[in-house]
């Protein structure tokens, strides 16, 4: 800095300004608050039991990087094509955009990127983990088993995946109907897991031709054999009823049984709805009988809405009393019930109403009132204290009796969680992989757990476990009030296109149609990317000290602390709360 002396007006510049550069003036020394780029957790990511990085996935989809989005999902969940179709999408319920206009159509986008990956024949990136020399048996190739096998394999273990059926997929393959989940999607996604080096051992049934003399030879065992044992109706004439799961299984094997006329479906879960909707497609006229009120129906709201669109009546507060042969089919007698509110605020109880019973004559009765653990699971593991809690969706068999001599054995999937959804099964498989890997390597879980949680909902992230970019995110879940929504415009959610009602009522074609890449991008652009910097450049535009620097590629921002005065405008104007303002360390 050189001193300049002005003798008079002729020497002066036209306006008051410094004669030379002011770069020497490090205004950053004035700062007592310090802004910092700090990505956080979006509520969708916290809500996803599989711990998917939804906010970042939507960022990639919005940019048209469908492959990147697919790989990003598969880091946490090997079955995006499946989840994009059948998941109950708790992510959407948590979506901050839902408080603004409408939640982002997250499953639709997940399905889209998976479909693109399949069409393009994409393969998973190879795992670089060195072989551990350990062998793990995974019994049951449903979503929990497939997920556990996939991640255990990526951790470097040798994995043998046993299943009682010919094809992998479990319920995905042999229960969920085609109109919700095409067989090809399951086959492709399961195939990708096997292609990562998992050895599939088909038609090996636990307790029949798969026993502990063989399983005892592994270093760890994960049992996820599912809940295939249908609960019986427990009323006189119950042997006249058919098993709902059995019907779905037959349909998945390509059979098209002949059913016509009025049919009763007993139950209110997703199985009951799937059975009823399948019956419509077979040409029957099903009615659902459910013992509680419509509001208590455990099936997913989307499922119920679609079933009702397809013209399926749901009759509530009715429970079977007896089945008897009748001249033109089966006489189904139902007790009429009454809902009694729980003074403690819990679910209403139902009691007999005292009104006369109802008898309907139907050509068939399908029972879909629940299912218990598949046969072959040792009875001491069915319930009680045979297995101890080892995770949110995981139990570890207690090492006593015969189990003292057996390798560490875990239970997962539908065996341990009441919700019994695909994504909770996936979450269970993930937990199993992490827990078993830690046990095999002798790593303390207490150290691993906190570092891999996503928010507080119990979801875990393998990206975090592997020290990926999510490991650098602050474990704070961004709430709607923490966004600066002035930068977002109202935009309608794109409705998911579907086949016509006529087509739905006559065939098993998938109801939800694929969406175009352009539509997917538009919908993904509705995402706020809560807590995740998407390089919107608001910080750069607002910084009064020109102290936000962009690298030439434009993918990274950094703050020039030599000049940043710590005014905090960048933090306030960040639409998505991807920055923090902290006290300057002294």
């Amino acid at each position: 800095m050189s001193r300049v002396t002005y003798r008079g007006a002729a020497d002066l510049p036209p306006l008051s300004r410094s004669s030379g550069t002011m770069a020497w003036n490090h205004t950053g020394s004035w700062r007592f608050l310090r802004p910092r780029y700090q990505d956080k957790v979006a509520p969708c990511g916290e809500a996803c039991p599989a711990g998917e990085d939804v906010a970042l996935v939507e960022l990639l989809v919005g940019r048209g990087d469908f492959e990147g989005a697919w790989r990003r999902i598969r880091e946490e969940n090997p079955l995006p094509g499946t989840c994009g179709r059948v998941c109950f999408h708790p992510c959407e319920a948590a979506c901050n955009r839902g408080e603004y206009d409408e939640a982002v159509a997250i499953p639709s986008l997940e399905r889209h990127v998976a479909d693109v990956a399949r069409r393009q024949g994409l393969k998973p990136s190879p795992s670089h983990a060195p072989a551990s020399g350990r062998r793990v048996a995974v019994v049951g190739a449903g979503p929990a088993g497939l997920t556990a096998a996939c991640f255990l394999r990526r951790f470097g273990h040798q994995v043998d995946l046993f299943d009682a059926r010919r094809e992998p997929g479990g319920m995905l393959r042999y229960a969920i109907p085609d109109y919700r989940l095409p067989v090809e999607t399951v086959a492709w996604e399961a195939g990708l897991v096997l292609a990562e080096g998992v050895r599939f051992c088909p038609e090996r049934r636990l307790g029949a031709d798969l026993g502990w003399e063989e399983l005892g030879g592994y270093d760890a065992v994960f049992l996820a054999v599912g809940a295939w044992a249908a609960t019986r109706l427990g009323v006189p004439g119950e042997e006249l009823a058919r098993d709902g799961l059995g019907l779905l299984d037959a349909l998945r094997q390509g059979q098209r049984p002949t059913v016509a006329g009025p049919v009763a479906v007993i139950g209110g879960g997703n199985t009951a709805l799937d059975v009823a909707r399948a019956l419509v497609r077979l040409g029957a006229e099903p009615t659902i009988y459910y013992r509680r009120r419509l509001a208590d129906l455990p099936a997913l709201p989307d499922e119920l809405a679609e079933a009702r669109e397809e013209g399926i009546p749901v009759r509530t507060l009715l429970t079977p009393e007896a089945l008897a042969p009748a001249a033109d089919g089966i006489a189904l007698t139902l007790t009429t019930l009454l809902a009694v509110a729980d003074p403690a605020g819990g679910r209403a109880r139902v009691v007999p109403s005292g009104h006369p019973s109802v008898t309907v004559t139907v050509t068939a009765v399908y029972a879909a009132v629940g299912a218990g653990p598949s046969e072959g699971l040792p009875p001491e593991l069915h319930a009680g204290d045979g297995a101890a809690v080892a995770g949110l969706h995981l139990r570890r068999v207690v090492t006593r009796g015969a189990w003292a001599e057996r390798p560490p054995t875990y239970l997962g999937g539908d065996l341990v969680n009441d919700r019994r959804t695909v994504v909770t099964a996936i979450a269970s498989g993930k937990e199993a992989a992490v827990v078993i890997d830690a046990e095999l390597r002798g790593v303390s879980l207490a150290e691993v757990w906190p570092a891999i949680r996503v928010g507080k909902g119990g979801a875990i992230s393998l990206n975090r476990l592997n020290g990926g970019d999510r490991a650098r995110r602050q474990d704070h879940v961004v709430r709607f009030e923490e966004l600066n929504t002035i930068y977002f415009g109202y935009q309608e959610r794109r409705p998911r296109p579907r086949i016509s009602l006529e087509e739905r009522r006559t065939g098993f074609d998938e109801v939800a149609l694929r969406i175009s890449g352009a539509l997917a991008r538009q919908e993904a652009e509705r995402c706020f990317h809560c807590g995740v910097c998407d390089q919107c450049d608001n910080c750069y535009l607002f910084c009064p000290d020109v102290s936000v620097r962009r690298d030439p590629g434009g993918d990274r921002r950094e703050i020039d602390y030599a000049y940043c005065k710590g005014c905090g405008v960048c933090v306030v104007e960040c639409p998505r709360n991807a920055m923090v303002l902290e006290e300057e360390p002294r």
């Binding site: 002005y6 008079g8 007006a9 002066l12 510049p13 036209p14 306006l15 008051s16 300004r17 410094s18 030379g20 550069t21 002011m22 770069a23 003036n25 020109v546």
Partner: protein, 385 residues
């Protein structure tokens, strides 16, 4: 090309032709049509400019100051209370020597709440260091915007183009809209000398101690004085290129080659009424010359003395009022003529405040009063006592 344009849209067209890079404005009646059209032009991609939306006129002026500091040709528009809210920032624009151009639609100040034509809003900003050019018709509005940019950029001072509420802003007239190529030749891109450049950071508008402040003000006054001549040159060049020029003052003599005993001085759209009325007046009685004042800041003092000094009487019609003194144009003219050894008698009329019509009959009454009896400090026209 001749087009029928509303006064407001003549401004918008001129702004488009001037290839303005940044616009920031806050809507206020009767300025709204100007910025509405500009917002459309920007939103439709017709005008490749940035339109910065703001929450107040103060911020609008701050935004165009920032844009001009970065070297962008910048425009805003306001009126009345909006202009009053800009007041502080008007000083910042002028003191920073930024050639911002503003369309100012003359509207009365409230209360009583009034949206009609009155010049007190712009004249209240007399001492901010802004140049002010008043317009008579829609064609002149369009032309003056283009000239204002050239003038502002030449002398590094902001310029206000002033047009009457409704009489001009909302009236459609046939307007000759120049071709873009012609305008580009007349008004090449601005070449700023003092640019805010993050690559070479400087301190701007920092403390100016008593040692320097006076000199900065002196330089602004110098620029204003230079602007009188610069305006004359630019107006003449505009005339050569487009066939229309306006002068700082325009004299419409009653009889060519002669000077009448009385000059009637008008500004704004009122001049049009006078232009239409005087020929019949001149046919009936003693001759009256019309003198239209266009350039108010810088005030063309020399030309005022030369043109108005020789008259016996000068009648000034002010659609404005400085409470406790009188009409503001009259006051300025009187001050300019004060040092002449021989001065005309000056009749200061206050008329048409708050948009009341100043009719041919009003002008007849003004002329009659100026031709008979001594002047007073304030002469009210059409007052209902």
């Amino acid at each position: 090309m001749k087009r029928v344009l509303e006064g407001s849209h003549a401004v918008s067209h001129a702004v488009e032709l001037a290839r303005v890079a940044v616009i920031s404005a806050y809507p206020i009646t009767p300025q709204t049509h100007i910025v509405e059209r500009l917002a459309e032009l920007v939103a439709d991609g017709v005008l490749p400019a940035r339109y910065i939306r703001v929450e107040s006129e103060h911020s609008a002026m701050a935004a165009v100051i920032g844009a001009a500091f970065a070297g962008a040709r910048s425009f805003t528009a306001s009126s009345s209370h909006g202009l009053a809210l800009m007041h502080e920032m008007l000083h910042w624009a002028a003191g920073s020597r930024l050639p911002v151009v503003m369309a100012e639609v003359n509207r009365a100040m409230g209360p009583g709440w009034n949206i009609w034509a009155d010049q007190t809003d712009s004249l209240s900003q007399r001492d901010t260091g802004w140049m002010q050019l008043y317009c008579e018709d829609v064609q002149e509005v369009l032309d003056t915007i283009l000239m204002a940019f050239k003038l502002a950029e030449r002398v590094s001072l902001p310029a206000m183009v002033v047009l009457d509420a409704f009489f001009l802003s909302h009236t459609c007239e046939p307007v000759d809209v120049p071709e873009q190529a012609e305008v580009d030749e007349f008004l090449p891109p601005w070449q700023p000398t003092e640019v805010l450049d993050p690559a070479e950071p400087r301190a701007f508008n920092q403390l100016s101690p008593p040692d320097h402040y006076l000199e900065f003000r002196f330089k602004m006054q110098q620029a204003m004085e230079e602007a009188v001549g610069a305006y004359g040159e630019i107006d003449a060049e505009f005339g050569r290129r487009f066939g229309r020029s306006y002068g700082a003052l325009e004299v419409v003599p009653a009889r060519a080659g002669e000077r009448a005993p009385l000059a009637l001085v008008t500004t704004g759209s009122l001049t049009g009424t006078a232009r239409a009325t005087l020929p019949s007046l001149n046919a009936e009685g003693p001759a009256v010359d019309l003198v239209k004042l266009k350039l108010f800041r810088p005030f063309p003092q020399e030309e005022v003395r030369r043109v108005l000094g020789p008259y016996e009487r000068v009648a000034v019609v002010d659609r404005n009022l400085s409470f406790g003194f009188g009409g503001i144009f009259a006051q300025e003219l009187r001050a300019s003529l004060a040092n002449l050894p021989r001065r005309p008698l000056l009749y200061p009329f206050v008329a048409g405040l708050g948009g009341r019509d100043v009719t041919p009959d009003s002008l007849r009454a003004i002329v009659a009063r100026a031709q008979a009896g001594p002047p007073e400090d304030v002469l009210w026209v059409d007052l209902k006592p």
